[in-house]
């Protein structure tokens, strides 16, 4: 005995059609708008996705006491871009950039400005963190 004796098949078809329509709309949406067009971050050098010409993204980082500046700022960047970190800190610390794979590490001595650079090779969202203070300095949204 089929369980769908009360006009059920029509309901199943309606549900299936809705799901299909949802899938089509979503994929259609993917075709018309690149995910790169929603830049909402601050401070960063936003540039077109196919960026061979994007200049380096310089982030000035100051760490004093228990605070970091920038403080968890979201920054837009593009694939292939260079990032330059200019860091001063009043204590010994390490700045980590988790860029996928092994990541990037910059040691900073107390009172001695340090400069480091790395490149953003793949899309994704990456955190730049102060290791000793355990704080997020910036989040790089790489598109």
């Amino acid at each position: 005995m089929s369980p769908t004796s009360t006009g059920g098949p029509r309901g199943t078809r309606t549900a299936a059609a809705l799901v299909l329509a949802a899938a089509l709309l979503l994929t259609g949406c993917g075709g018309t708008s690149a995910p790169g067009d929603t830049g909402n971050g601050g401070g960063g050098a936003s540039s077109p996705a196919s960026s061979t010409s994007a200049g380096p993204l310089t982030i000035d980082i100051t760490m004093t006491g228990d605070t970091v500046s920038p403080n968890a700022e979201k920054i837009d960047a593009s694939v292939g871009q260079q990032v330059v970190l200019q860091v001063t800190s009043d204590t010994d610390d390490e700045v980590h950039a988790h860029t996928g794979g092994d990541g990037y590490e910059l040691e900073v001595g107390a009172g001695t400005p340090a400069t480091g650079r790395f490149s953003l090779d793949t899309p994704g969202s990456f955190e730049v963190e102060s290791h000793s203070r355990g704080k997020v300095i910036a989040i790089l949204n790489v598109r």
Binding site: A22, T38, G100
Partner: protein, 436 residues
């Protein structure tokens, strides 16, 4: 390898593009009202239907198949325990990826595709069965009876505990921390099953209870002793959630939502500028998020008591299954790239559990295929589609339950708060993935 501050992955998904959020939210809203206004008015899934599978039933019930499956899974856990107890305290220790990715995320696809296989192969059950065989006692017999009303509340507490470990616990990717939690999990479950019999595992193991809830959406369903291939929605609607199921789904949905919430700029900045320690902020945020889900869902379900013939407090548990697809949709959107990339990474690391350059399983020389990260638009589509699909299935299941539980003329009025709450969960999930 640098240890990230949060979690085990050194890479996160890009924010969901705003256009995706809008389209997905409009779809979710539209489908919800179509279901409310146009869908069936009498229950459709009262009989499970489906195809009976006598040969498959015999196969999966054969003691040989079950025994082999249980021993294989037990061996896998023993192998990971070796890494956990004797391995090196580095992120290259496979026990981290095993717990946070293979178990916590992997149980979703396993349960969706294979049904309640997690319960059958649960290593705690296997260990308990072996102990009982040695002592010649019945594994169902305990020293005390577990009251029925306890249901799966212990597992709800356990899920909160795991979420706390995953999202709040400092140094969660160090062996010292993971050993304590893993031992606590194992000892509490084994001791509990000696006291209460093996029903304790089904009541208290957070992973088994999570997996069993997700398995309700699988196409495999038992009717009596017989296995059937059924419409997953019919299977879900037929589920009678145990007491505490509301706590379980609230812990799951709330903790996943909090993981996204904790990535908002506003939240990180507030926590980092505050004099109050981070652990307090995160513990509070996690608890509040779970409570918000628990309270909103319970109130929306209790509203049905105005129209049905049961007391209001009976409805949250009866409706709890409708949240399972939403939980799954959230989890897929949240973890799909982690599962693909770190899942592979863990398979590679498992070949060398002690960090001595071994390649026991032959996977050690493979490399992680990171192609998934080169297609952010595809990932965003999968995320948005998972949330919308989870929402649609949840709404359809809630509608089916409402027309089954309420008189025909009152079903519409009885279910609209549930619909509003579910639209809220879905839109919140989308906005959190947009991650402003």
């Amino acid at each position: 390898m640098l240890v990230p501050l949060h979690g085990i992955a050194s890479r996160h998904d890009l924010p969901l593009p705003f256009s995706y959020v809008v389209v997905a939210a409009v779809l979710a809203l539209g489908v919800s009202f179509v279901v409310l206004l146009l869908a069936w008015r009498r229950p459709r899934f009262e009989q499970l239907g489906g195809r009976s599978l006598p040969r498959l039933t015999r196969l999966v019930d054969s003691p040989v198949v079950r025994g082999v499956a249980r021993l294989l899974v037990l061996a896998l856990y023993a192998w990971v325990a070796l890494a956990l107890l004797a391995g090196r305290d580095l992120l290259t220790n496979p026990s981290f990826g095993f717990v946070y990715v293979w178990v916590w995320v992997g149980l979703i696809p396993v349960s969706l595709l294979l049904g309640p296989v997690w319960r059958v192969t649960n290593p705690v059950r296997t260990v308990h069965a072996l102990l009982c065989a040695l002592a010649r006692v019945d594994p169902d017999e305990g020293l005390l009876r577990l009251p029925r009303a306890v249901g799966v509340w212990p597992a709800a507490v356990g899920l909160f505990g795991f979420a706390w470990l995953e999202l709040v616990q400092p140094d969660r990717t160090t062996l010292a921390v993971l050993r304590v939690w893993a031992l606590a999990w194992f000892v509490l479950l084994v001791l509990g099953s000696i006291v209460f019999g093996r029903c304790w595992v089904g009541a208290a193991d957070p992973f088994e209870v999570y997996a069993t809830s997700v398995a309700q959406l699988s196409p495999w369903h038992r009717v009596g002793p017989e296995l059937r291939l059924v419409n997953p929605l019919a299977g879900l609607a037929a589920w009678r959630p145990p007491p505490g199921a509301v706590g379980v789904v609230a812990a799951l949905l709330g903790s996943t939502a909090f993981d996204s919430f904790a990535n908002l700029s506003w939240w990180i900045q507030t926590v980092q500028s505050s004099a109050v320690v981070t652990v307090a902020w995160f513990s509070g945020g996690l608890a509040v998020m779970i409570l918000v889900v628990l309270v909103t869902f319970s109130l929306a379900a209790a509203w049905m008591g105005r129209y049905g013939d049961r007391p209001a407090r009976a409805y949250p548990r009866l409706m709890a299954g409708s949240v399972v697809p939403i939980v799954v949709g959230y989890a897929v959107a949240h973890y799909v790239t982690l599962l693909v990339a770190e899942g592979q990474h863990t398979a590679i690391l498992l070949s060398d559990p002690l960090g001595r350059g071994w390649d026991v399983l032959g996977t050690g020389r493979l490399t992680v295929d990171n192609t998934v990260f080169d297609h952010p638009a595809l990932v965003a589509s999968v995320q948005a589609a998972a949330i919308v699909l989870g929402h649609v299935l949840g709404i359809v299941c809630a509608h089916e339950k409402a027309v089954a539980l309420l008189p025909e003329r009152a079903a519409l009025r009885g279910q609209w708060p549930m619909l509003v709450v579910m639209v809220g969960y879905t839109c919140a999930g989308l906005v959190l993935l947009f991650s402003p």
